[in-house]
Each structure stands twice: as C-alpha cells, then as structure tokens.
C-alpha cells in the first residue's frame, strides 16, 4: 500500500517535472499564500504579546491614577518667562482615593508616587533619570524584586533620610566596575543620596515618563518632597518651565481582578468631576486595556483568516486550472491506463496526489519563506515577531487541503472519461 502510494507520488512528480515552469508558477500561488499567513501571524502575535506584556507589567489588579500635563499648557512657556503651571493630583485627593477604596476593598494597597527628572552623578558618570519618590508598599504593588540590599522602610520615610535604591540598568551604568552598595550618588547636583539597595532587572516596558523602572532612582516620598519640593523648575536652553505638581501617580492594587471594574468606576466617578475642565488626571485600568487588546487580537485574527482564505483560494484556483489543463493533455494516458485495468479510483488518486504534491511543495517552501520573513522584520525593523508552531502547521495543513480540494474536480473529470473516447484522443 505504501509502495503503491510512493509509486503514485513518484509518477506525480515525474508528470509535474515535465512542465517545470508551469508547475513552479502554480506552486507560487500557494507558496506566497502560506508565507504571508505565517509572516502576518508572527507579526501580529509579536505585537500582541508585546502589548499584553506591557499591560501585565502595569499589573492586572492595579488601577493607575496619573497626573498629565493638560494640553493647553504645553505651549505656555516663553523664552525667559517663568509661568507657573499647576496641574495633577493633590495630596488631598490621594487621601480621598485611599479612603474611598479602603472603605470598599479593605485589603487594597494604595501607593503615592512623585517623579522628578534630575541628573544623577557618580564620579565622572552622569545620567539624566527620573527620581521616584514613593512609599514602602510600592514594591509589592508593582511586583518588583530587590536584587541586593534592601527596599525603602517606614523609618526612611519618617526620617526623610537621604537613602536611595537604584534601578538595575542605572546601577550598572553608574557603577560599571564596582559594587554600588553603600556608595553615594549626587542627585540634581546638590543632594547626596546613600545607596541602600539595587533592584533586580525588571525588563518591563511600563515606567515613568518614557523610561523604565530599571533606569530610575527610588527615594522616600518624604525626602523627595523635602529635597525637591512640589514646584519643579526645568531649564532647557533659554526657556524655563515651572510646574507645581504634588503627586504624579497614585497606584491602587486590589486583591483580585474581580474587584477592578467596580473600583475603577468608583474612582472615575470621584476623580473625573474634579478634573473635567483641565483634563489633567488620567485613570488607566490595565485589565481593561488587556481585554481591549485581546478583543483587537480576535478581530485581527478574523481579518487575517479572511486574507489567508482569499490568498489560498487564489492559489487553489491556480492549481485547479493547471490540473484541468493536465487532465486534458493527458487524456490519452488516462485511456491507456483504463485499458490496462485502472479503475476510476486509481485515476482519481493519481490526479489528487499530483494536486497534493503541487500544493504541499508550495506549502513547504512557503513555510520556509514564512519563517524567514519574520526574522528579517526583526532584524531590519526591530519589531518583535513570534512564530508559533500551531500557526505553521495550520498554514501548511490548509495549503495541502487546498490542493486536494481544488484537485477533486479535475480528478473526477479524468476518472469519468469514456475510455474509448480517451484512447481516441490525439
């Protein structure tokens, strides 16, 4: 049986090789269909995984209430002028958030965050970074881990101590050759902070003001307020920005994801009326974003399935066209085979195998090309791509099935030829 099949495949290959150009062109339809399906899925999956990771990094049980600079203040500074812009969350609002959430979900954790952009210096090494002023619970709310030393303590907050914890990447940049523990760094050119800990490498996309937590310095909230105040003056060229921002973010961590939607509604009801004129506070619910991303991924998959179906349909029509031409060309051969004892099923299987060989060959080369394209996209465009084995198997399986489905009609036509007429065919 296996010998018979291999003989039919061998015969199919011989017949297809008689018309190399025609067979190659037919195969190309399937080839590009399969390759584009694999490449599109890889790009889509990569983008989706990147987005999902970003939202998971924010914490799916978290709600983030952030201060944002209102749009109409973006152009308010003029050369040499010192206009004070006040926006964002206040300490008082943070108290109200805490009170509201704790009354509904007593187990919730709420942390306040201040983010000040400053330069950090160690010897000759200088880096511009974000000084994150926060509280001890920040670590558990963000699910980050300490690599070395310790995290902030309540005592640090009470004493407004000049201690700090460095993000992993920043520590390596400032202390390329030595251990940063118990050393000091100069923040903002004035204040010396004592390093008490270094974070593990987090590798997260989400971080403050376009950075990641791996590049930040963490100090006690009270110290941040005392050293830098609530007015942040930034000089750039000959323009100066003077902003009054009390808190940059309040992170709310709930015990489980079921509580997220209700708590988010409460927060919106409370915050949005207070800031609706200035639009300077934004509430981000990673869980909602995650759901949206999943929904858009589903939609993307549907669109992709339609595109894939169309491209493989076109490939299939190509195969059917060529197989019909082959059947007509080989009418006499069909007659000879029938005279020599071939049953209809033998003729059907012969032409189906040929169609299958055509599309399977296109499928194999298409898989190769489909694996190469995502690699090139990553290499040239630095866009993450993810090739999943089920996607490859799916694309290949569909291509082989297309060959068989579109080969059925030509094969049926061949098998149902009158042997006498077929033998007369010139």
């Amino acid at each position: 049986m296996i010998g018979d099949f291999s003989r039919i495949v061998d015969l199919g290959l011989k017949s297809l090789l008689l018309h190399k150009l025609r067979s190659s062109l037919t195969t190309a339809g399937i080839l590009f269909g399969v390759a584009s399906v694999i490449a599109m899925l890889a790009v889509g999956e990569g983008a989706s995984q990147e987005a999902l990771k970003r939202f998971r990094d924010m914490g799916v049980t978290n709600i983030l209430v952030r201060s944002v600079k209102p749009p109409d203040t973006q152009q308010s500074t003029q050369a040499g002028m010192m206009a004070l812009t006040t926006y964002g969350l206040t300490y008082q609002e943070a108290d109200r958030i805490e009170h509201l959430i704790k009354s509904q979900v007593p187990a919730a954790e709420i942390v306040r965050v201040r983010e000040i952009q400053r330069g950090v210096m160690r010897g000759e090494n200088w880096r511009s970074t974000v000084i994150v002023g926060t509280v001890p619970a920040f670590l558990s709310v963000t699910n980050m881990r300490i690599g070395e030393g310790r995290w902030l303590s309540d005592i640090d907050l009470q004493h407004q101590s000049n201690c700090c914890i460095l993000g992993n990447s920043l520590a390596k940049e400032l202390f390329p050759l030595e251990n940063p523990m118990n050393q000091t760094v100069l923040v903002g050119g004035e204040d010396r902070f004592h390093i008490v800990g270094v974070l593990d490498y987090q590798g997260r996309a989400a971080g403050p003001q376009g950075t990641t937590y791996d590049e930040c310095v963490f100090v006690p909230m009270s110290s941040s307020r005392r050293r830098f105040g609530d007015d942040v003056i930034t000089r750039s060229g000959n323009s100066t920005k003077n902003e009054h921002v009390e808190l940059h973010e309040v992170k709310v961590k709930l015990a489980n994801s079921d509580e997220v939607v209700g708590a988010a509604r409460l927060l919106r009801d409370m915050i949005e009326p207070l800031h609706k004129t200035q639009l300077d506070v934004e509430i981000t619910v990673p869980l909602e974003l995650l759901e949206q991303e999943r929904a858009s991924k589903r939609m993307f998959n549907i669109v992709l399935a339609v595109i894939a179906s169309i491209s493989l349909l076109v490939g299939g029509i190509g195969i059917m066209n060529v197989m019909l031409a082959t059947v007509t060309e080989r009418t006499r051969e069909i007659g000879i085979r029938r005279a020599l004892g071939a049953k209809k099923k033998h003729i059907i299987s012969q032409f189906l195998v040929e169609a299958g060989v055509l599309s399977a060959f296109g499928g194999v080369v298409g898989v190769g090309l489909g694996l190469l394209v995502p690699y090139l996209i990553e290499h040239w465009f630095h866009q993450q791509t993810v090739v999943l084995v089920p996607h490859v198997l799916l694309a290949f399986g569909i291509s082989a099935a297309v060959g068989v489905v579109f080969g059925i009609y030509p094969a049926w036509r061949a098998a149902n030829m009158d042997p006498v007429e077929a033998l007369r065919h010139e």
Partner: protein
Amino acid sequence: MNPPAERPVIAEFQDVHRHYQMGDNVVRALDGVSMQVLKGDYVAIMGRSGSGKSTMLNILGCLDRPTTGRYLVGNRDVTHLSDDALSEVRGREIGFIFQSFNLIPQLSVLGNLEVPLFYQGRIGAESKRKAEQLAERVGLGGRLQHRPMELSGGQQQRVAIARALMNDPLFLLADEATGNLDSNTEREILDLLDQLRGEGMTIVVVTHNAKVAERADRALWLKDGRVERLVAARDAVVGP
C-alpha cells in the same frame, strides 16, 4: 471452418448489437454478431471503414458494452458488469496492443511494463522479475531504463507486446498493431505474434491489412455491423 470442440471458449459474442443514438438517427454499429474465439485461436477481424471493426474491438476489450446480446470472456458473462468490474476483467484477462503503441511517455520501459500489475496490487520484486523476463523475450533486455522516446517504433511496439503479456491474459487483442511500422518492422512484429501463438497464446487482431490477416487462422469479414463472411485467413487477402 468449424473449430475443434475440445478447446475452451475464450471469448464469445451471442447476437451482440451495439446501437448509438446520433440525433434522431440510430446507428447500428453492430447488428447481431455471434462468434467464438477458442483457446489458441489466431483470429483476424476485418472490414472496411465503418464496418463495425472498432466497435467490436471495444466490446471485445471490455471498453464498451453491447446494447443487447451477450458477451462472455472465458465463460463469464461480462455484459452487465460494473465499470470497476470491467476494469478488473481488462486488467486480468486481456492484453492490449495498440496501433500507436500507447506507452506512457514519462515512464521507463520497466515502469510501462509494470503498469498492468500495479493496478492489480501485484507490484514488487516479482513484477520486476517478470518485466525483465518479458523485455528479454521481446529482445529489449538492455533497454529497461530507457524512455519510450528513446526507442524506435518497432522497439516501442515490442515493449507494448511485452506489457500486454505481463498479466498472463486469456487473449491478446491487437488493434492495427503494425499500422505505424515500416514493412521490415511489421514483419518482425508479426513474427513475434506468430511465436506467441506457437506457444499457445490466443490472439485477436483487428485490421484492414491483408498481410496481417493472412497470418491468422481465420478472418471475420464485417460489413454494416454484421459478419458477412467467415473465411480461412489466406482467403482474406482477396476480400468479399
């Protein structure tokens, strides 16, 4: 000419009619033909164009069925067999030899020889051995890997004869087997058929060529779908 009664019947037509509907007209391609082919017979079927030769060949070869009447192959009535069952009879009982050789161009000589056994699921070392023996028998032992295109017409027809013998058929059915050959090659092929006949093979040739027919024991003259004369083959040269 009455055939000796002790030889078994290989193929038999019993009042076979084959009619075709052509528009409003009925064409009576065969109009009541009865005849027997016995084991070891060498029979020529002759007639002019349109006499019903081809229709008779098609029914003899189980490629077509009678409209009425019965056709028996080795005592088995095949008149009403299904398409698949007729394929089975063709594959097991009949060895075809065609005018234009009808070898499959993309297969080697060996591949062509194995085709009949392939459809009976008898492919393997045995079929290869048999193909080699028969290729040797028709003088093409060294050409097994050649493609038909690389052979002369006479050689191709020898391959076709070997292929017809692969399934040990009840009879060989030759359709103008020498029609595409020059006279020397024609003689070689007819000599080969004579040899086979000498070994006990039953042969039916359909031809309009008297040189072919005169090698047979007897000839059926067809005219307008009927057997006009049954003659000794040497008389067939003259014609009715």
